[in-house]
């Protein structure tokens, strides 16, 4: 589905340093029963965010009013496990447009790019710099510039470039998804199929 174009994003950051955060944590299976793509943000990180009675757990970062923003700063190997795209829908629905980590799981990364959440892979050292800066000052802002492929810590100007393939980059900048591309070459696909 079409999503908002992504060019530059400057935002404060929500830090989540836990490693190996799997998609079962991002959205537990019992919340996957919808037949439409709406309202998943309410259950984002459900079991870390709420106790069994549904009361917010004060020590979880999403319940901490100190932190907010459109960028999630995550620990390494973020998004492993189940292929559920609902995990990205939940992040998007909650308001995140970008996830920064030193390492992403493959399917999760693909899913992000398909629905307009930008995954930015940074070096482990830079990730640590970002965590430290946000911890020292929660109002710290980060700027992600997709055209330049840079991520910058505004307070110090420290910056790193990130990888994204040219095709996906253009998609993100225009709010396109792959299906538009594929629908345009259906004839070619049909010929390929016939060759068997």
């Amino acid at each position: 589905m079409p999503y908002d174009k992504f060019n530059t994003l400057t935002s404060t950051v929500v830090p989540l340093p836990a490693e190996n955060v799997d998609t079962d944590q991002i959205i537990p299976a019992r919340f996957l029963k919808a037949t439409e793509r709406e309202g998943f943000g309410d259950n984002l990180f459900r079991d870390w965010r709420y106790d069994v009675e549904g009361n917010p757990k004060p020590d979880f970062v999403l319940n901490n009013p100190t932190y907010s923003g459109k960028i999630l700063l995550a620990g390494k190997n973020f998004g492993s496990g189940s292929s559920r795209e609902h995990a990205v829908w939940a992040l998007y629905d909650y308001g995140f447009r970008c996830v920064v980590s030193s390492f992403f799981a493959d399917i999760f990364k693909n899913n992000c790019l398909n629905i307009g959440v930008l995954p930015v892979t940074v070096s482990a050292g830079f990730a640590q710099q970002l965590f430290d800066a946000v911890e020292a000052d929660p109002s710290t802002e980060i700027t992600v510039d997709i055209a330049q492929q840079t991520i910058t810590l505004n307070s110090t100007g420290a910056s790193e470039t990130f990888d994204i393939n040219a095709y996906k980059k253009e998609n993100m900048q225009n709010g396109f998804d792959d299906i538009d591309y594929l629908l345009n070459i259906q004839e070619e696909i049909r010929e390929f199929e016939m060759k068997g």
Binding site: M1, N20, G81, S83, D106, N114
Partner: protein, 466 residues
């Protein structure tokens, strides 16, 4: 001539075109769908006003959220019922073959695909489920996709993919007694880590792999995703052909001969290059179990939980957090710990061979009083065979509860949940926090180890119990 890996051969034959500096337009031979990751894809097709390009290349079954009792009745849970009904409607509307609840081939999508002979060597197969890698056991490129991609496959039979890097894992030698293919893969993941194969597609090779049955090969390929790999595959051979011959969708007669001739070419050429290779000796592998909250946290049942002193920084924090969730301490033995539940099932180990193994071991014994033992066949076909072979009787006499086919406690979307704080030794594939129910503590192991736990009531090494 250019030397190619098995993976290259299949991949290259399915590229419709390559986008300059971008992904390949990758053609998909077979597409499986289920009730949880497909409804939004169909909804989006409707919004775009387009249909399904090749309905006979998609096969559907409801498996993830279905109850495992009273499958002949209306599903009680409203949301589950809606998803299953949506799947039925969508299949009917678009002319997609559906193996519905109660029908002869209903079951977990990765169990029924091979059973029906839909899964064949050389194919490209996807499904909105990460364990689609299971089908790689037949020498196919099979991997999980997200719902946007499900929509693409329905609409155009293609997805856009960047070709992954290639890894080969070779396991040579003879497996010891009481050691299964589940132990091989848990061992490999414990060595490579839960993220160690991210970005790669794995080929499994070596005598310890080629000596395995198709069921056992599926267990290995199934868990490729648990080390971060997109998928895993094994070159087809006589074992593969023997399994497929006569299956409903397998080629027949002359077409069979032609197919086998083609499948024979699906091997990695001598001298073909991999980006990364690992070698293991089967003799080093023993019954394995996980102690933490990702599948890379595995040890031999006879070993102690690792000592945290060797770890540093964030690794140590994650490790300790994980042990805290599990209620374990560093450096303590895992054997002898009390267990509450055992679960035999899932697309990893819910096939007939797994049920035979468990029944063979518990025959004439009783489960321990503290254990609740669930056995959930991967499909109706498995269930039927288990009855015919007298396995159900053996298992029920031992105190196991047989439930109807589905994903069940593997992901606990239905009522089959392990209560908070309880320990479950499970033949499934994920031990994430809350995977088997909020607060549930999961330890992954082979069907034989699970059988040993069921009988003793504690974590046990199957070689010492039987």
């Amino acid at each position: 001539m250019e030397k190619k890996t098995l993976f290259d051969k299949i991949w290259d034959a399915h590229v419709v075109r390559s986008v300059p500096n971008g992904p390949d337009v990758f053609f998909i031979d077979k597409h499986f769908i289920h009730e949880v990751t497909s409804p939004v894809a169909f909804l989006n097709l409707e919004k775009r006003g387009i249909g399904v390009m090749y309905p006979d290349r998609t096969i559907a079954t409801p498996d993830h959220n279905v109850p495992t009792v009273d499958q002949d009745k209306t599903i009680k849970d409203k949301l589950s019922r809606m998803q299953v009904e949506k799947l039925r409607d969508n299949c009917k509307k678009h002319g997609i073959e559906l193996h519905d609840l109660g029908s002869a081939h209903h079951g977990i999508v990765h169990v029924i695909g091979p059973e029906l002979g839909v899964t064949q060597p050389g194919m490209t197969i996807v499904c909105g489920d990460s364990h689609t890698s299971t089908h790689g056991a037949f020498g196919a490129i099979a991997f999980g996709i997200g719902t946007s991609e499900v929509e693409m496959v329905l609409a155009t039979q293609c997805i856009m993919q960047v070709k992954p890097k290639k890894m080969r894992i070779t396991v040579d030698g003879e497996l010891g007694k009481g050691v299964t293919s589940k132990d091989i893969i848990l061992y490999i993941i414990s060595k490579i880590s839960a993220a160690g194969a991210t970005g790669y597609f794995v080929e499994y090779a070596g005598s310890a792999i080629t000596n395995l049955s198709m069921e056992a090969r599926m267990t290995i390929c199934n868990m490729s995703i648990e080390m971060g790999a997109r998928g895993g595959l094994i070159a087809p051979d006589q074992t593969t052909y023997a399994y497929l011959k006569g299956k409903r969708y397998a080629p027949q007669g002359e077409a069979w001969e032609q197919a086998v001739a083609h499948w024979e070419s699906l091997k990695t050429d001598d001298g073909a290059e991999f980006d990364l290779e690992y070698h293991y000796d089967a003799a080093d592998i023993e019954p394995m179990i996980t102690y933490g909250t990702n599948p890379g946290m595995g040890i031999k049942v006879k070993d102690r939980i690792p000592n945290a002193d060797l770890l540093e920084g964030s690794n140590k924090t994650s490790f300790l957090k994980s042990l805290e969730y599990m209620g374990f301490a560093p450096d303590e033995p895992i054997k002898g710990k009390k267990v509450d539940y055992v679960f035999v099932g899932s697309c990893t180990n819910g096939r007939i061979e797994d049920i035979r193994a468990v029944a063979g071991f518990v025959k004439g014994k009783k489960k321990a009083a503290n254990i609740t033992a669930w056995i959930v066949p991967g499909s109706r076909e498995v269930e039927k065979l288990a009855h015919e072979e007298g396995l159900v009787k053996i298992l029920e006499e031992a105190g196991f509860e047989l439930r109807q086919p589905g994903c069940s406690a593997c992901l606990a979307m239905n009522d089959d949940k392990i209560p908070a704080g309880k320990y479950a030794v499970s033949t499934s594939n994920r031990n994430f926090e809350g995977r088997q129910g909020p607060g549930a503590r999961t330890l992954l192991a082979s069907p034989l180890t699970v059988a040993a736990v069921a009988v003793t009531g504690v974590i046990a090494d199957p070689r010492e119990v039987f």
